[in-house]
Point group: C2
Chain length 525, copies 2
């Protein structure tokens, strides 16, 4: 007999389901999990095939199951439509084949907006249409640390501004990261004797718990599927194509049904010298074919970029230490890729001797603002030396830097901005303003220290007589000061509008200042 | 009987050929032209098929012929190997079919280096391996002006620094460009009654003369095959797919054998609203299939970029008004495309009211230098208002600006630099230096006005005790001032070397200054 596990079953759905208690319920974009008993002899990971077809009206979705050890097989499914669903399994084992059942999908809770998708070309939104304003951080190996440190990381994240975290499936072996994890993804003996054909279910069960805990915090889990920080210490970076592909399919079968999962094919893919470009292309094909939900897909570079124009790349995940030092740089990748641009690595706030790890907090925050007015997204990282080598960037724990508070302030401004996202206003002439022409402008002066700003906006969306309110934002001091004057537009020349009385906005002569300019009739959210 | 025309026959080859005077000679990368008499009835442009197969040892090249009016058919061929060649024609007309002949290809003259190719990923070289340091200008419709003005343009080019000029096959109808040309590419009546199936051979003969005159000046002809500056005035921008494709094949059959031809599929392709992306992809396929020599291929954008990662794009031809305002911007497209980056349009030196046409000469020159230290190439244009609307950018004539002299100065520095081209030294940290690590550095300070520069170079290619000479370059005053001190490298930290005595280079506190730093033992060419 199949047994069921239900996640995210709300009280309301339980109440409604009492009228037909034989049919189970699950919230939309929750995880329906079917558990079946099957053979444990031989190697179930390679010998047993299991899948299920889920149906609702004209919709039909096929998903792969997986072996979870101890004779237990599971099929996970994330529905995207409210209503009655049914399933039927298929397997090369009679005990797993042709199992059928029904369940009911109910409205999601208020916090559950579904998976994140690309929206408005350069931005993101949840499946239900709600904006998702990406603000990510990185902690590569936080799930491979002591349990207490992992709990501390989750606690930190619960009050941090980040709504995405990048981390690795495989453990990391690198400077400041040489502790062995408590548990490994394969059966075998560390550091180097593994049976790559036999997964360790306990490793993945633990990993899934962390994905779900992030989901409960409203944080997307940007899972890094391969990385070079191994160099044959364990050998997970050089398992060979057959093992790589089997690993990917297993991960996809296990994790795809979690709505907050993103796939990052690799960190610094080009530093993995054992893999060729064809391998990465094949990995993308495997991910596309085995993730029926189309979670976001990216690949992060070292010094060489993957061809991010490929249609299977949903958004560009870019490491570049200098591209967000200037909005006029950051904007260029938008033109090239016509996808969301996420500068996932722009150096880190910290004090490492390496130049990639010793940004001041001011410089970290500056990069976020420059990226924002360029219509792109920037990722956070922190690398302060620690007596116990507990550095956020790799191990998680607590945040020690001064940027997160400013990023929380920035996030509020992002959330209060145009719901579809920030776009450059006049990218080839003035790279310091983003927003929505005619209604909303966010300008950023970066390291400049102006004492005033002549009210002047690009003509797009404007006409004479539009009324604007201006606020002066100190992005470092985290203050927003309204200007006690209503600016009224008047055409200046072929490209610009100015204030009808040529009024200027006084500024304090400090760096890191921004302006928020909103049309009077635009509702302030 | 076939008749022959020989171009570029040197005195030497004439002498050598006397031993077998029945066999004609032609220099390598010259144009062998076979002329045949054939039918003139019906529509020879669409009804007659003609091609020829040229053979030399194991090499075989098939080229299309074309109808040149008055019953004359021609097949043009550019050999790329010295030695004995033969040919045989194929046609659906018996008078043109199965004609055979031989000729001898001799060493080219000293000035003839063959066609330009991509070299060292980001740069160009002639077919014989000699460097080609691209320095282009644009004059869209110079070949469609009065004969005397065309001659003036050629005279101007003969003493200008440019080794490439971009211009359109079709005439241009645009602000300041409303004069009708003397001759049109199709049979018919201007402005709007054309038989697109019948070409006007006189138009193309004239055009070819200009291509050859440019070749004699050592200037590459970057031919713009389509453009939007017509808007149905003549309708050459909206002929429909069948006419577009026939036009392309005709142009390719006529022009491909000229070694200095480059193909620019379009100017501002995205402004041609009648064409879809599939059209541009098809045009590229037609060019690839009908140009047996593989001349350089690009496509120039308005605001939307073509996907320049496609393998049929040999180099990125980019319009961007702000990308070369900062080397840290310009460099980004190198990473994306891994091809030569040619910023063919970066606004123009001039005084038009439009912001794309009112750069100061200083700003024009600055863009070239920023592009150079970013490892890219920049294009010149000039738009000074003229009482007779003779503006270089569209009509040619004379140059009035102050940038060309400075670009000639720059060209000399490019020519004296690394033969393979300038590459960024440390693109993610310091965007102001290009060259070859360890031997040659060119730094540019742009609008900054430093009074000294602490000798400090990125570690790549360096070791303790290397000796360097430094010259201070005023890119505007066109002076090169050697510093009377030999700088000797000493490791400073994990990333940099400094002078062993921590010497600095004095600078005059003016903008537009550059540094040239060369290793003592590096031969100064």
């Amino acid at each position: 007999m199949p047994t069921y596990h239900f996640f995210f079953v709300t009280l309301a759905s339980l109440l409604f389901s009492t009228v037909a208690c034989a049919v189970s319920t699950i919230v939309n974009w929750g995880v329906f999990e079917l558990t079946l008993d099957g053979p444990s002899a031989g190697n179930p990971f390679v010998e047993v095939e299991l899948s299920a077809r889920f149906s609702h009206e004209n919709e039909m979705v096929s998903v792969s199951g997986f072996y979870d050890g101890n004779g237990k097989y599971r099929v996970r499914f994330m529905p995207d439509t409210v209503g009655d669903w049914s399933y039927v399994t298929a397997s090369n084992q009679s005990t797993l084949n042709a199992k059928t059942g029904q369940f009911q999908v109910t409205n999601p809770s208020r916090e559950n907006h579904g998976p994140v998708r690309v929206a408005h070309t350069f931005h993101f939104a949840y499946a239900d249409g709600n904006p998702y304003k990406e603000l990510g951080t990185t902690s590569y190996a936080w799930v491979h640390q002591d349990e207490s440190l992992q709990e501390e990381t989750l606690k930190t994240l619960s009050s941090a501004p980040f709504n995405k975290i990048r981390f690795c499936v495989f453990p990391k072996f690198y400077e400041w990261n040489k502790t062995e994890p408590a548990i490994y993804p394969f059966e075998g003996t560390p550091p180097h004797q593994w049976d790559f054909s036999r997964f360790n279910p306990a490793f993945f069960q633990h990993f899934e718990k962390r994905i779900q805990q992030l989901e409960a915090l409203g944080i997307e889990a940007d899972l890094i599927l391969f990385h070079p920080y191994d160099k044959d210490h364990w050998g997970f970076d050089r398992m060979g194509a057959a093992n790589d592909d089997r690993y990917l399919r297993y991960v996809l079968a296990r994790f795809s049904a979690y709505r907050n999962v993103w796939w990052s094919l690799a960190n610094e893919f080009d530093f993995m010298k054992e893999k060729k470009m064809e391998d990465w292309d094949r990995f993308f094909r495997i991910v596309v074919a085995n993730d029926p939900y189309g979670h976001l897909r990216s690949i992060h570079n070292g010094t060489k970029l993957y061809n991010q124009t490929h249609p299977w790349v949903t958004h560009a995940s870019i490491q570049n230490g200098s591209a967000v030092e200037d909005p006029g740089r950051a904007v260029l990748y938008r033109d090239v890729y016509e996808k969301p641009i996420v500068y996932d690595e722009v150096k880190y706030e910290g004090n490492l001797p390496q130049r990639w790890g010793n940004l001041s907090a001011e410089e970290m925050v500056l990069r976020f603002w420059q990226g924002l007015v360029a219509g792109t997204y920037v990722g956070h990282g922190e690398t302060y030396l620690d007596p116990h080598d507990i550095i956020w960037w790799a191990k998680g724990g607590s945040l020690h830097g001064q940027s997160p508070a400013r990023l929380a302030f920035l996030k509020k401004i992002m959330d209060d901005g145009p719901p579809e996202g920030f776009n450059p206003i006049d990218k080839w002439q003035d790279d310091s303003f983003a927003g929505t022409p005619g209604t909303y402008y966010l300008g950023y002066f970066g390291r400049q220290t102006p004492t005033s700003w002549q009210f002047e906006l690009n003509k797009n969306g404007l006409e004479d007589g539009k009324r604007f309110h201006v606020e002066v934002i100190d992005t470092w001091a985290m203050t927003i000061t309204p200007i006690d004057h209503v600016f009224v537009t008047k055409k200046k020349d072929a490209y610009r509008f100015e204030d009808k009385d040529q009024q200027a906005v006084p500024l304090p002569g400090r760096p890191y200042m921004a302006l928020r300019i909103r049309e009077e009739n635009t509702q302030v959210r």
